[in-house]
Every structure is written in C-alpha cells, then in structure tokens.
C-alpha cells in the first residue's frame, strides 16, 4: 500500500518535472526576433549594465543617462571611458583590480551587507537549536592527523588571511578566505581530542567585524551623504594599499565569516558552552 502511494507520488513528481523541463527548454530555445530573450553564446555585454562595471565608468554613465535620457538604453557603449592599465591607472572608481570584488563590495555592497546578515542570523539560529547538543567523539585521531593539525593550522589561517587581504587584487576575497580559516578550525576539531570551543571569543570578533562593516557604511552616509560610499582615496589600481573601503570591508567580511563559520562548526560538533 505504502509502496503504491510512493509510486503514484513519484509518477506525479516526474510528470511535473517533465512539464517544467519542457517549459524551461522552450523558454531557453526561443528563436531570436520576437522580443528579447536570453543573451546566449556571445552575450553582448554592451546591452547589460555590467559594461560600466567592467569599464569602470559608472559615473560617466550616470551623466550620460541624465543628459540623453532614454536613448542611453540603446547606446550604452557610447559612454566615455578612460584607458585602464594595471598598476598605473589611478582612482578608477573603486580602484580594485578584481571586477567581481568591486561589484560585490562597492557597486552592490548593500547586498553583501545583507548576505553577511544571512550568515549571521543562520549561525545564530544554529547556536540556538544546538546549544544543548552533546559532543560526539570521533575515532581517536592518529598521530599523523594530530601532528598535521598542529603543524598546518597556522599555515591554513595565514593562507586564509592572504586570500581575504588580497581580495581586491586576486580571485578570492572575504567569503572564501573566511571559509578557509573556518576549515582550519575544522581540522583542529578533528585533530585534537580535547578541543575546547571558544564561542564567546568568536562572538566578540564577529560582532566587532560586523560593526566595522555597518560603521564604515554609516561614516560614508554622514560624510558623503550616501550609505557605503567609498570615502577613502582609492589609490592606484593593482597595489595592495588601494581601493579605499573596499579592501577594509572585505577584510572585515573575511574576519566575520571566519568567526561565524568556526563557531557554527564548533556548535555542529556539539559540546558548545557559553
């Protein structure tokens, strides 16, 4: 009886999935001509707003939009742009060499603030749900794991710090950097049998890092009249000390993510104490 019901369920689910699949594939394979469709194969980036992020001429584009009104939408690529050269160009908007970073932290920094909040609230919920979780012991770590954990821990942390400090220059940034540090904490949990959770410490670090992010935003609001404005000089593109608050925010994000995820892993492991 139960099996029949399962079969019927599976059948209807399969039917729904097939219908949705036809729906999606039909949408994706719509022929060109009848209105806009997904920009496939060689997407014309000059039809998208990101052309200005790439060329770093958003302020010019704002002026162009204000002057030419709706004709802007047809002539995005006519917006003036300056020549960008690694290690030479100064004050190229945010000044970060990694375009993804400049979008994540600068052009759309507000999303990142929300994203950090999502992580914050979910780790908070995890702590609430699991605070009386009993510690589960894993198989006794072998000598190699123990030694390896002790030996590798500082290097992994250092690598994580490197990743988020260089977030505005190289691939990486606050989120992967923080996660790498959290994986060092994971290594300690697996490698050290008598690992003690340090939740109060992570809480304080997390709070201060979050405060830095939101506080930098508010400083921008009160000095330059807009939340999360880059109020520091953005420097030469490609240098370590450049891109103003972008680098600072990414460092804060890295520290915050590291603290949050480490505490999340500790609480997942159990034995969390306040």
């Amino acid at each position: 009886m139960k099996n029949t019901q399962g079969m019927v369920n599976a059948f209807f689910a399969f039917l729904l999935v097939v219908i949705l699949g036809i729906f999606f594939f039909n949408a994706i394979n719509q022929p060109l001509g009848n209105g806009l469709v997904l920009n496939k194969d060689n997407p014309d980036l000059s039809k998208r707003v990101s052309i200005h992020y790439i060329l770093k001429n958003v302020h010019n584009a704002e002026d162009y939009l204000a002057q030419h009104k709706s004709s802007y939408f047809r002539n995005r690529d006519k917006v003036k742009s300056s020549n960008l050269e690694f290690g030479k160009t100064k004050n190229a908007e945010s000044g970060s060499a990694n375009e993804v970073t400049s979008i994540v932290v600068n052009y759309r920094g507000f999303d990142t603030l929300g994203e950090v909040t999502v992580l914050f609230i979910s780790i908070l919920g995890l702590g609430m749900l699991l605070h009386e979780n009993k510690k589960k012991y894993w198989a006794k770590p072998s000598l190699i794991v123990r030694t390896g954990a002790n030996f590798l821990f500082p290097f992994i942390v250092l690598f994580g710090v490197y990743v988020f400090v260089h977030g505005h220059l190289t691939p990486g940034g606050g989120f992967p950097g923080g996660t790498i540090i959290a994986s060092a904490a994971l290594l300690l949990i697996l490698g050290l049998k008598d690992f003690k959770n340090k939740l109060t410490m992570t809480k304080i670090i997390e709070s201060l890092a979050g405060l830095t992010f939101a506080g930098l935003g508010l400083v921008g609001l009160f000095t330059n009249g807009s939340f999360l404005t880059n109020f520091l000089p953005s420097g030469t593109m490609g240098l370590l000390v450049s891109s103003g608050i972008t680098a600072l925010i990414y460092i804060a994000v890295g520290i915050k993510v590291a603290a949050e995820l480490s505490s999340g892993i500790m609480e997942m492991n159990g034995g969390g104490e306040e």
Binding site: F24, L38, N39, S50, E62, A66, K69, I121, A214, F227
Partner: protein
C-alpha cells in the same frame, strides 16, 4: 540629499543586530529593550518619511553614491512607506505586549531574530533592486524559521522545517527568475526592468513571472506554497503568530502588488496577459483556492491559533484576488483590506494571548464564560472578529464592500469570484460567532492570572483603530488613494528612479 538618510531604516537595525551579542555579554536583559527601542526608532522615522513623501511625492535613496540603475536604491513612495510604517507599528505593539507579558522568555537570540525579521520586511518594501529583494527575503525567511523553532516543541520544528524547505525552494525559483531577467534585460534595477519588460519575448516573460510568483508565494501564504501555515502557527509562540500574519504575510502580499502591478504590468492596463498566459486569471484562481481552503479548514478547527492561521490565509487569498482583478477600485480595496487585516488580525492574536493564559488552553471549547471573568478581553476579541468578518461599522466592512464593488465592475466570469468572497464572509461569520457566543456563556472560570496594564493599553489602541476606521473610513482614504496611484503609475515610478519618461 536628505532622502538618502532613509537607509537608516535598514542600517541602524543591522548595526544594532551586530552589536547585540556584545550587549548580551554585558547584560542579558539589555538586548530586548534595545530591540524594542530600535523598532520604535524605525516606526517614528518611517512615520516622518511617510508624511514627507505624502507631501512631496516619491523619492529615492541611493546607496554607495551609485545612482540607479547602476547601484542599489531604495524607493520611498506613499505605497512603500505606508506599508513599512504599518509593519513597524504592528511589530512594535506586538513586541511591547510580549516583553511585558513574558519578560523572562525573551532571550538575546530571539530579540536579534525579531529585529532582523522586522528590518528585512521593511527593507523588502523599500528596496528598488530585485536581487537586493532576494537577499532580504532570505533574511526574512531565515529569521522567521528561527522564531518558529524557538518554542522547542516537535510541531514547531516540523513547521519550521516545512517553512524553510518551501522557502528555499521558492528562493531557488526566485534566483532563477533573476537569472532570466538579467540574462535578457541586462539589469537588476526594478525601474529599469519595468521600463523594458514589454520588450521581452512573450513566452520568456511568462516564465519569468511564473518563477517569480512561485518564489514569493511562500511568504504570502498562498496556495500551494502554504503547507507550512498550520504547523508553524500552532508550533510558535502566540506573539509570533501576530508577527507571522501582520508582518510576513503583509510583506509577501506587498511584493505581489508591487511586482505584478507596477513592474511586470503594462502601465494603466496592469498585468493582464503576459506572454501566453493570462496571469490575472492565474492569480484570481490561486486567490480563490487559497480563500476556500483557508476558510473551510478554519471551520473544522478547535484550536484558536489554527483558526486564526487559516483565517489569515483566507484573507491573503481575498487580497490576491484584488491583485488579479487589477482595476483602480480593486487595488484601492486590496490595499485597504491588507491594512485592515494587519490591524484586526494583530488585535485578535494579541487578545488571544492573555485569554490563553487565563483559560489555560488554546482550545475554544474551554473559552466558555470568559466574558464574565474579563469582559474587556471578550469585547476586544469581538471587535477584532467583527472587523475581520466585515460587520457594518467595523473596518473590514468598507474594504470588503469595496472589493465586491470592484469585482462587480470588472464583470464577466468574476461573478464566481464574488460568490467566493461572500461565501468566505459567511463561513467566517459562522466560526467567529461560534467563538464569541462561547465567550459570553454564563460560566465561572477559576484563574489567578492578571493582565498587565500595558497589554490593555495595546489592545485598546488597536481596538480604537479598528473602530475608528470603521466609523470614519475616510481617515485612511487619502493615504490609500495616493498609495494606489503610486502603485498603478508605472511611468512615474520609472521617471522618479531613472529620470526617463516612458
């Protein structure tokens, strides 16, 4: 420049939320009052902004000094500010009642989750960027899940799990819709999407709208994404129930209004047919189904929490119908009914809260004789339910009248819809009067529970609002009228944000 400060409505609660763990290290009791004060600040500030935009028209607040459509912006208009204000007001009252009544129960984690939930709801109403909306929807659903599971019962974990599964299913769909939008229109800004939406291939547009609708229906408690409603309401604390219907549900419906009428709709004709699908009909069918399922499920329940949960589901269905009918009258009526529902339902939940404490049970059979024990609560309950049913001279009467009127003027097969609305009112009358008659049965209740004066005050404020809107519906008329105009006027939205005129 001044309007840029509106971002404080989001930034201050976030800053406070990040600081709360530090406060809780200093003093555990500090956090809840900080939360309360922050929401109070939000309410006062949003009231101020509401008056400002009512007088001066819609404004935008830009973030990061990047003007739209390049950066993220907040859109402050009569419609968005009105709902932000109502959300903050409801949250403030509910939180006050809860803090007074159960001071020991509120811990630091709960106050952070409440703060972020209210912040996210406000931010969803204000934001002018679709991906930003997605991020805040995520914050809203995660903090709601935490609050539901706070009760530490099996059923609350089940409700929370069901909610989060549906919510992440919905958010995947929402993200897919955002992907489709960005891939074709090359923008994430709502005004820019609105400006270019009718250039889309029709099949393609219908896929986007379908995915978006599926994504937001979890919050709006609409069928078939409302499977979480009964367990989540039953499993969570009473006060959270008020927030679930007054804040989360209101936000979900707000997004449907804004997206379907301003952004995806085509100016004065509103949505009508997008692509190959008549989404008006789809929304009406969904609304009617939700209403019928909600009302008939409420009829068979004994538990007051479940009754109110199903009733709020049904009201959301009725409001969804007004989105589908989509003429000026129905939009007016829908906004009015959403406001009325937020007030009446919060009143009912807040009244149910001390009643449950007095009687010691959420089962309505045990409520007999409450009127003799505490006449004030019984009358307040009656006022709330009259407002919800739409008894003449209570707030729901006017909005339901307006809904029926607007549906009649739409004509055609809409007569079926009128039948549904009237039937739902009938069913509501039946189950609410069943409770009210029970309240005034002559029977003695033994109880030592005494209701705090502040709870009376909160109930009094909400009752007065319910009655005052009933007697003088013109009190809100200017606000609602401006909100409806703002909602319908697509070209105004576009020209305010982008500076181009469609």
């Amino acid at each position: 420049m001044k309007s840029n400060y509106a971002v404080l409505l989001i930034a201050i609660p976030l800053l406070v939320a990040f600081l709360q763990p530090l406060f809780s290290l200093i003093n555990k009791r500090l956090t809840k009052w900080v939360t309360f004060l922050t929401i109070g600040f939000n309410f006062i500030y949003s009231l101020k902004l509401l008056n400002y935009v009512m007088a001066n028209g819609a404004q935008i607040a830009i973030i990061g000094n990047w003007k739209p459509p390049f950066g993220i912006n907040l859109y402050l208009s009569p419609f968005s500010m009105l709902f932000a204000t109502i959300i903050y007001f409801v949250a403030l009252i509910v939180l006050l009642v809860y803090l007074i009544d159960k001071p020991t129960e509120v811990d630091d984690r709960m106050s952070i989750a409440t703060l972020l939930m209210v912040m996210a709801s406000g931010a969803i109403t204000l934001t002018g960027d679709i991906f930003n909306m997605f991020v805040f929807v995520e914050i809203l659903s995660i903090s709601t899940v935490i609050l539901i599971s706070f009760n530490n019962k099996g059923i609350s974990f089940k409700g929370a799990f069901r909610y989060i599964v549906l919510a992440s299913l919905g958010s995947s769909m929402l993200l897919l819709a955002i992907g489709f939008i960005y891939g074709s229109l090359g923008t994430l800004n709502l005004a820019s999407i609105a400006y270019r939406f009718n250039l889309l291939n029709p099949v393609y547009a219908s896929v986007i709208v379908f995915l978006f609708m599926a994504g937001i229906m979890v919050e709006a408690e609409l069928f078939p994404f409302n499977a979480w409603v009964p367990e989540a309401y039953k499993g969570s604390k009473s006060y959270l129930n008020a927030l679930l219907s007054g804040v989360v549900g209101t936000t979900g419906i707000y997004v449907l209004f804004r997206m379907f009428i301003t952004i995806f709709g085509s100016g004065q004709n509103h949505i009508q047919v997008i692509g190959s699908v008549n989404f008006n009909a789809v929304i009406i069918v969904i609304g009617v189904l939700t209403t019928l399922i909600g009302e008939f499920s409420a009829l068979s329940q004994k538990d007051i929490k479940k009754i109110l949960a199903f009733s709020s589901m049904a009201q959301m269905g009725i409001i969804a119908v007004t989105i589908g009918v989509a003429n000026m009258n129905s939009i007016n009526a829908g906004i009015f009914h959403l406001i009325n529902h937020a007030f009446s339902k919060s009143l009912l939940f807040i009244v149910a809260f001390p009643i449950i404490n007095i009687v010691g049970s959420a089962n309505i059979d045990k409520w007999e004789g409450l009127g003799r024990k505490n006449i004030f609560l019984a009358i307040a309950f009656a006022i709330g339910s009259f407002g919800l049913i739409g008894i003449p001279f209570f707030n729901g009467f006017w909005s339901k009248m307006m809904i029926v009127e607007s549906v009649v003027s739409a004509g055609g097969w809409m007569y079926l819809v009128i039948g549904t609305i009237l039937l739902s009112a009938l069913v509501e009358t039946f189950y609410f009067f069943r409770i009210i008659f029970k309240l005034f049965v002559d029977k003695k209740i033994e109880s030592t529970y005494s209701v705090h004066i502040f709870i009376y005050l909160a109930i009094l404020i909400l009752s007065i609002i319910v009655i005052y809107i009933g007697i003088k519906p013109s009190f809100l008329a200017t606000y609602i009228h401006k909100a409806a105009i703002d909602l319908v006027d697509k070209s105004h939205y576009i020209s305010t944000v982008l500076g181009v005129i469609k």
